[in-house]
Amino acid sequence: MRAALVVAGRNLRQRLRDRSAVVIAVIAPLVVSALMSLAFSGVESFHYTLGVVDADGGPVAAGLLQALRQPELAKVVTVRRLDSRAAAAQAVRDKRVAAALVLPAGFSASVTGPRPLPIATLTSVDDTVAGTVTSSIASTFVAQLNADRLSVATALAAGVPADQSARLAAAAARLQIPVQAVQRALGSRPLAAVSYYAPAMAIFFVLFTVSFTARSFVAEREQGTVERLRATPAGARQIVGGTVLSAFVFAALAMGTIAVVTSAVFGADWGDPLAATVVGLSMVLAVTALTALVMGLARTQRQAEGISSAVVFGLALLGGNFVFVSVAPDVMQRAALLTPNGWALRAYMDLATGGGGLGTVAVPVAAILGFAAVVGAAAVALAPRAVRV
């Protein structure tokens, strides 16, 4: 154990002396999370006026209009009623509205029939964000209608009188509002973009520890210093353990720094400090185990680089460090839970949106530690190979 501490101490000293290591671990993620939150803060304060032409006047159109006035969407959209498709086109051209939706006459009736009429969206090249949000509202609504059509059809098949189908459809349409236009996570509090990107980037850069540590260890092996360590009383596990222990300390320091700075400077919400720390340390532990595993697998620096890149980017992509989780497709959200970083991100999102403490993160932390244990066991078995020259 003492030998591992001695090895870790030497490694940390070397790392703190290596400016590029400090840059990679602390400065780069701070810069990236700052840039990302700046880029996305525009979305949060985004607001536009949407023209709506209700040529239908039926219950389905009314459902849409009502949905647009719900508080979540009202923050983004102000609805202005317009009379006709031509008037809407003119309004978009004159920039009186940023975009418009046209619900054609007979729309409500067509929804229950075999050939539903399409909703038209009028958008302007001058305001692509409004255009995108409008299209998104329209397509979400249509998707919703299609689901409703299915449920209505099911209800009819189950014996509901046919004359009630229009009422059913309208009722079903009111059940949900289109949500994709607004970034919103699972909890009750709204999620600021920076509160997602700060942990996402911190975790991503902590994952980089794998590459950095494994590569410099292989380099040491090639330079003969690992062999010299093996000639001392220190055993293989102590040498590998000491090396990754320094990685643990360094990654934990980096993550802590990012958490403190992003909360203090950018207003990121990491949630309850104790729970956030436990999640962070578990994640760092999982990364440490991965590092030890790569050290045992890679024989050359090139291999160390290749394996770690595959691991880092694979996990970051799967775990949702690049894609905002709640807007990701369902499959991806589920795949994220195969990764420790996916769990860690979910834990941070839960903490930021729902409040809560250790209880909130118990399951994610257990999942992350489980991952660390499995990977760590493999790494321990590979330790003698890691130090073999």
Binding site: R13, R228, A231, T232, P233, A234, G235
Partner: protein
């Protein structure tokens, strides 16, 4: 030679005459117990205080002895015993049934050309490479499996293995800690090792800023720090200037005299002659002969070694020489042809004629008495590198 100055425990002084009477070579190996009486400095187990003093001038004083070695009663049993060590890399047999032993206070040399298997042997001794067959025993323990056995070995690898981004003192302190040193003892040993290698003025500099020779010296210091019972040096003088080399050799000689067992590899014949009590001549993975210099040379009888410095078709010249009566061996060297002859002076005229016939131009001829170089030529038919 500043760093030739010896550092020692103040208590371990002994005068030059007793150092000279200290038996060396085969005698020492045959009866390691006997030399304990003759080397009082070494007989005292090293004081753990490690109060080091630098002694200048010519007084020969004892160096720090290995911790707690040389217990009376272990006489006759070598510290290191290797039996039938064998290592293969694919089809190539790098080490082929090598057996040897090193006693306490003995400097044992493995002398052989590039690729003979010296480093491979040493790595097996230090527990860094698992042998395919054979055993290594350090006082009955196996360094590969036993941390306590490794703690008694000081390994100086052939290629410098240090951390360039740490200072010399940091490098030494780190390795010292791994050998269990700490606190005042650690600081003293680091200072002592730096002083021994004349690096004290540069101890605070990063090793990356060191010259090649300085790195080599530090590489050796790192192996001595914990005062091992067995010091293993793998070609420590390669790339070192003659002065430092002289100093290193003197230092190794002295450590041996003070009771440390030393395993030393080299392909320099004159190094082996100077520092080693006994030499094992290694060729193609085998020890082809072993003994003190005198024993080895006496195998040759009254033979002379002749060095022809020549240019031209050296292979043909060697071939011509081999055919001459009185020439036992002839091998091409990097400067000419080396011969082993029963009577050098009588062969000379015929040699010059042979050179004429082969069209080679002879620059100089040197006749020398038999030495390890001649032994090597005798045993292998090839020349050891210059």
């Amino acid at each position: 030679m500043g760093w030739m100055r010896r550092v020692t425990r103040a208590a371990a002084h002994r005068d030059e005459s007793s150092a000279r009477t200290h038996p060396a070579g085969a005698d020492a190996a045959a009866a390691p117990g006997a030399d304990a009486a003759a080397a009082p400095g070494a007989a005292t187990p090293a004081a753990p205080t490690g109060t080091a003093v630098v002694v200048g001038g010519d007084a020969l004083v004892g160096a720090p002895g290995p911790d707690g070695d040389r217990v009376p009663g272990d006489a006759g049993r070598p510290l290191l015993a290797c039996t039938d060590l064998t290592k293969r890399y694919g089809d190539r047999v790098a080490v082929d049934g090598v057996s040897f032993s090193v006693g306490r206070g003995e400097v044992y040399g493995l002398l052989g050309p590039n690729g003979a298997g010296k480093t491979t042997t040493i790595k097996m001794v230090c527990g860094l490479l698992p042998p395919d067959a054979g055993t290594v025993s350090l006082d009955g323990r196996e360094p590969a499996r036993d941390a306590a056995a490794r703690a008694r070995v000081g390994y100086v690898p052939q290629d410098v293995a240090l951390y360039p981004d740490l200072t010399a003192a940091e490098n030494l302190a780190f390795l010292g800690r791994l050998y269990g040193l700490r606190g005042t003892t650690l600081r003293e040993r680091v200072a002592e090792a730096l002083a021994l290698t004349d690096l004290q003025a540069r101890g605070g500099d990063r090793v990356g800023t060191y010259s090649g020779g300085m790195r080599r010296r530090l590489n050796i210091a790192a192996g001595l720090l914990h005062r091992p019972a067995l010091l293993v040096l793998d070609e420590p003088t390669v790339g070192v200037d003659p002065q430092s080399r002289h100093a290193i050799l003197g230092r190794v000689r002295e450590l041996g005299r003070n009771g440390m067992a030393v395993l030393y590899t080299t392909h320099y014949m004159e190094e082996a002659e100077r520092v080693c009590d006994r030499v094992g001549i290694v060729d193609r993975g085998r020890i082809v002969a072993e003994g003190t210099r005198r024993e080895l040379v006496s195998r040759l009888g009254e033979q002379d070694r002749i060095e022809l410095t020549a240019t031209g078709d050296l292979a043909d010249l060697a071939e011509q020489c081999r055919a001459l009566p009185g020439v036992e061996r002839a091998a091409v060297t990097d400067r000419g042809v080396r011969l082993l002859t029963s009577d050098g002076r009588r062969v000379l005229p015929a040699l010059l004629e042979a050179a004429d016939r082969s069209g080679a131009a002879i620059d100089s001829v040197e006749v020398a008495e038999a030495d390890l170089e001649a032994v090597f030529l005798h045993l292998t038919g090839t020349a050891l590198r210059e």
